[in-house]
């Protein structure tokens, strides 16, 4: 449902992406990966119409997103920016309720549909028990679930998330990604996320987009495209890719580097 045609994006005098054509599958969990400063967040922000491209277009179901009213886009596309600013003293229910903004006007502020959507979003993101707590008193993992609940209340077909697991410990990362996975499988939402952790990306993504220097190097299901060659090509990292003992998804294990194995180690170094 989201695609780019000849997209070029940059900041001031620096070009980040130049001439990118990309189609993201609908009804899939797409994860964009790549080294720091490869342009993955820039791409996501441009697709979310938070950044204006220098050239080219972002298409939402075939229509140029820049030509659509921003409120209309907000009813079809939810966006969670990287580390959003938490307003002081705002409660969870209040913040989640703001996801209903695209359906409201100042003379039509709250409808029964708003009520249902906010409640469902809080239940789905498992923050209903926190409804009356101020968001700035919550832990990082809880906050992130609240923000996701806000975008869920928007009731959109698609959800774009910019590094939704940053600053979270591993358990909370898994919790957030499990939630996104459920959105995909149980609610049929299209989910697109930028992630740092390759192994979590491989575990959860239906569709992987690997980027380097503002260009897409490979796209496809992780089990097909995530190889040691790709990791070396994209990240410049020597590694071994083995099947994950839990999910069978590709698991990237970095090569020794400057480490040395202790004598008698059961590991036979493979690289």
């Amino acid at each position: 449902m989201l695609s780019t045609r000849d997209l070029a994006v940059g900041y001031e005098d620096r070009s980040v992406i130049d001439g990118l054509d990309l189609d993201l599958p609908s009804d899939a969990f797409t994860v964009i990966v790549g080294p720091n400063a490869c342009g993955k967040s820039t791409l996501l922000r441009t697709m979310a119409r938070l950044l204006a491209p220098r050239r080219g277009t972002v298409l939402l179901d075939g229509a140029a997103i820049r030509d659509l009213p921003t409120r209309a886009v907000a009813r079809r596309l939810g966006v969670l920016p990287q580390s959003p600013l938490v307003p002081e003293g705002v409660t969870v229910a209040d913040l989640v309720g703001r996801g209903r903004q695209p359906y409201q006007r100042w003379w039509r502020q709250w409808s029964p549909e708003d009520e249902v959507a906010v409640r469902e979003a809080m239940v789905l993101a498992d923050v209903a028990a926190l409804a009356q707590r101020p968001v700035d008193t919550l832990s990082g993992g809880q906050r992130q679930r609240v923000w996701i609940a806000m975008t869920l209340a928007q009731d959109t077909e698609a959800l774009l998330l910019d590094e939704p697991t940053t600053f979270l410990d591993l358990a909370h990362q898994v919790e957030v990604l499990d939630l996104l996975h459920r959105l995909r499988t149980e609610r049929g939402r299209t989910v697109v996320a930028v992630l740092h952790d390759l192994n979590l990306a491989a575990r959860y993504a239906d569709h992987l987009v690997a980027m380097r220097d503002g260009a897409v190097v490979a796209t496809g299901p992780p089990r097909q495209i995530l190889t040691a060659d790709l990791v070396r090509d994209v990240f410049g990292l020597d590694c071994v890719v083995v099947p994950c003992p839990v999910t069978g998804a590709p698991l990237v294990v970095p090569a020794l580097g400057t480490l040395s194995l202790e004598k008698g180690s059961p590991c036979a170094a493979q690289s």
Partner: protein, 352 residues
């Protein structure tokens, strides 16, 4: 819907949905209660301001005069004191509204018309007019033009970066400093008597003013009313960062420009009429915000707090050292210092 999810309140507590035909508006309880209490306090302060002075008029006589029952104090209450008190209410309300709008855009509790250059623009123009011997009728229009020009300069300087909070404040401070320096130059090179007249104007006083100034401010409020109705709702999204706001379909830059324009317009209008009454636009929004415990200053309550502050400051200026009259601006400024220190201490406690 499961039984469990039905008990989950989706509407934050302390709010009620008010339906009026097709209109549905969410009303917050606390601002309503605080607003009611403030209105009562304001009414009491107005009666007090009408009764204190020489001669003293008992509050019941004030009320009788106000309701048209006719007393021998009608002249004192209705014609000498009422115009100035009503003006104080209007001045405070407009300063409160201007401060709320400006602070919201600046995301900074210390921003106010005199931090972003509007007061200095009005002050420079008024000083030039006063020292050049322009007739008294021309002072207010000149000040209005000066304030608006300064506001336009600040908006244009800030607009290059979408009127981002920091940019807006920095542009304002730069314009304010430059204009203040120019004002000093004009004042020092002028005739000393004109200089003193300009000085008094700059501090802000309600003395000798009344219905005419009130009418201007009333017209300003009426003109801004549709904007204010919208702003009360638009301010809700103002606590979110730009990306998040865009994500839920808001246009943060357009909103900021709208709110800031309304704010500086109101500030320029009121400053042109009574001068830069310090501190009201700064403190009223923050005091109102603490009273209603919201994440942003509430527009209506800030107007009431502003009105209350100016009525009390003008009353104190009139009575504290009677028969010497102090301009209201001196008293509000004297309160401003300690208030800033309080804000700073609070901020430091929060960090630690």
């Amino acid at each position: 819907m499961t039984g469990r999810s039905e008990v989950i309140p989706a509407m934050p507590v302390g709010r009620t949905l008010v339906r009026l035909g097709p209109t549905r508006v969410v009303v917050r309880h606390r601002p309503l209660l605080v607003g009611g209490a403030l209105a009562l306090l304001l009414a009491a302060a107005v009666v007090l301001a009408l009764s204190l002075g020489t001669p003293y008029v008992a509050p019941q006589d004030v009320l009788r005069s106000l309701t048209g029952a006719g007393t021998r104090y009608d002249l004192v209450v209705l014609e000498l004191r009422l115009p100035r008190v009503v003006l104080a209410v209007a001045v405070g309300a407009v300063f409160g509204i201007a401060g709320t709008l400006i602070q919201t855009v600046a995301r900074n509790p210390l921003a106010s018309p005199d931090v972003i250059g509007v007061s200095q623009g009005a002050g420079l123009a008024a000083t030039v007019a006063l020292t050049a011997g322009a007739s008294a009728v021309l002072i207010a229009p000149a000040a209005l033009a000066g304030g608006l020009l300064a506001a336009v300069a600040v908006l244009l300087l800030g607009l290059r970066h979408g009127l981002a909070a920091q940019r807006f404040v920095l542009a304002g401070v730069a314009v304010a400093v430059a204009l203040r320096a120019l004002t000093e130059v004009v004042m020092l090179s002028a005739d000393p008597i004109d200089g003193i007249r300009a000085q008094i104007w700059l501090v802000g006083t309600l003395a000798g003013k009344g219905w005419r100034e009130t009418a201007y401010l009333g017209a300003t409020l009426l003109l801004l009313l549709p904007v204010l109705l919208w702003a009360g709702w638009a301010l809700n999204g103002s606590a979110l960062d730009d990306d998040t706001a865009r994500g839920i379909g808001l246009r943060p830059v357009a909103r900021r420009v709208g709110l800031a324009t309304a704010g500086v317009l109101a500030a320029a209008m009121v400053t042109a009429q009574v001068g830069a009454v310090d501190f009201v636009a700064l403190a009223a929004p923050q005091m109102a915000r603490r009273l209603v415990r919201a994440e942003r200053p509430p527009l209506f309550c800030a107007a009431l707090v502003g009105a209350l502050l100016v009525v009390l400051a003008d009353l104190a200026g009139r009575r504290l050292f009677a028969p010497t009259q102090l301009p209201a601006g001196v008293l509000t400024a004297a309160l401003g210092g300690p208030y800033l220190i309080y804000l700073l201490l609070r901020a430091r406690r929060k960090v630690s």
